[in-house]
């Protein structure tokens, strides 16, 4: 079946099987490997992407269900080489350990902050309940989301990084 999607803002047209899951479409057809297949059972959130701006688990969405819609993956967050504030905050607060859950965590956090731009710590924890970090590194993840919400990500220079953007500005990727 022919589908037309906007993936990270780019229009695409592909012939897909109806059973092709969105996560497999993104990884294998589009070559976007940020969304991971973790549990494959709608539990772990590693495959989280935005569908028309809201977070979804792409292992439980058919590509054909996304026909005509906007899909955003972690690859689509950075703007002209500058990290998205949530990405910058994850880097600053070291919101990852092994990194497998990170793209899904970041996308869930972007979705959460679009619905609730000023969450409490409890709201962040509840808002991320659909994402598992099996390294159990939740404290820094929550800290990163709160930092992104308050616009403090990138205000302090931390060892090994040069994240310097403040309050809405974006840190240079790889700078």
């Amino acid at each position: 079946m022919q589908v037309e999607l906007f993936v990270n803002g780019q229009p695409r047209s592909d012939d897909v099987e109806p059973r092709l899951l969105l996560v497999h479409y993104l990884r294998e057809v589009c070559g976007l490997r940020a969304a991971n297949v973790g549990c494959d059972t709608t539990s772990c959130g590693a495959c989280t992407v935005l569908l028309n701006g809201t977070s979804v688990k792409s292992c439980t969405v058919l590509t054909v269900q996304a026909n005509g819609q906007q899909v955003t993956t972690a690859e689509g967050l950075a703007d002209d080489g500058r990290l998205h504030p949530v990405q910058a905050a994850f880097r600053q607060e070291h919101g990852l350990q092994c990194g497998f859950c990170t793209p899904g965590m970041v996308m869930a956090a972007v979705g959460l902050l679009s619905e609730n731009p000023d969450p409490t710590e409890e709201e962040v924890r509840e808002g991320l309940e659909g994402n598992f970090c099996r390294c159990t590194g939740y404290h820094n993840i929550v800290r990163a989301v709160l930092a992104a919400a308050t616009g403090t990500a990138g205000t302090t220079r931390t060892a090994g990084t040069s994240a310097t953007a403040a309050d809405g500005e974006r840190a240079e990727v790889g700078a």
Binding site: P18, L21, D40, G45, L51, T54, S55, V56, V64, L112
Partner: protein, 269 residues
């Protein structure tokens, strides 16, 4: 895991979906959010030949007040119900219940009609609909009929939906200001209830205490006869035959039903 091959049709209207169901028969399944159906298809617990997508039909989404009832389109996602000002004001038990389904991503996709038609006895919304005394609008070739919650859930994952019918809307009485309670006992975040209890205006519904959501009628009768919350709640498990699993045996589930009913009657959430 990848589902077995199937054909996909996007329905153009609820009537079109009914026509497709009628012509395709048992080989076809309706797809809305797909958050119960797709996991079952991955496990080959469901192997439909055709999926009829009703998930983006405008006629099936949205929340409106209609006289004394709140009418929620069947394909309205849980997140929309949970955050709706109308639902929070007029049916706060329903909004609260929708906000406890799964996790945020699941609530963005899963739909109220899909959850009710799936009829998992451990799920939130069937219990909420029963507690509220709500009903569902059902469309088939013969037209629309309205089915009360009591008559809708007929068995373990079974409803009184006939072949070729689809749920178009969910109706609950508007009860702004009515005191209510909602209890869901889980071992993990975003899990199904080991036991659940919801209470409003002397009605009590239980989740996972049998093959369908159940009314705790003995406890309701005690309340009607003037008993207090603690006394009535002692009768919450009367007549129930809950299943046993790794989480809880029958006696423990009955204990939970009594404790959770008391808390629900104390209007705790």
């Amino acid at each position: 895991m990848i589902p077995a091959p199937f054909d996909y049709v996007a329905a153009q209207s609820p009537a079109h979906a009914v026509d497709l169901l009628d012509s395709l028969g048992d080989d076809a399944k309706l797809l809305a959010g797909g958050h119960s159906l797709l996991p079952m298809m991955k496990l080959r617990l469901a192997v439909p030949a055709v999926l009829i997508d009703i998930g983006r039909l405008a006629e099936l989404t949205g929340i409106r007040a209609e006289d004394g009832e709140l009418v929620i389109g069947a394909a309205t996602p849980h997140a929309t119900v949970a955050t709706s000002g109308l639902a929070q004001a007029d049916a706060p038990l329903l909004a609260h219940s929708a906000g406890l389904v799964g996790d945020p991503q699941i609530r963005h996709r899963g739909t109220i009609g899909g959850s009710l038609a799936h009829a998992d006895p451990a799920a939130d919304l069937p219990m909420a609909l029963l507690a509220l005394g709500g009903s569902v609008d059902v469309l088939g070739q013969a037209g629309t009929r309205n089915v009360a919650a009591e008559d809708f859930f007929t068995g373990f994952f079974e409803t009184s939906l006939k072949p070729g019918e689809l749920v178009t809307a969910v109706r609950v009485p508007r009860r702004p200001g009515a005191a209510w309670g909602y209890q869901k006992f889980v071992r993990r975040a975003n899990d199904w209830a080991i036991v659940g209890a919801a209470a409003i205006d002397g009605r009590i519904a239980l989740a996972n205490m049998g093959p369908t959501p159940l009314r705790a009628r003995a406890a309701e009768q005690a309340l009607a006869d003037g008993a207090g919350a603690a006394e009535a709640a002692e009768l919450a498990a009367e007549g129930t035959e809950p299943g046993e699993d790794v989480h809880a045996d029958r006696g423990y589930r009955r204990h939970l039903a009594r404790v959770l009913t008391r808390r629900a009657l104390e209007h705790r959430t």
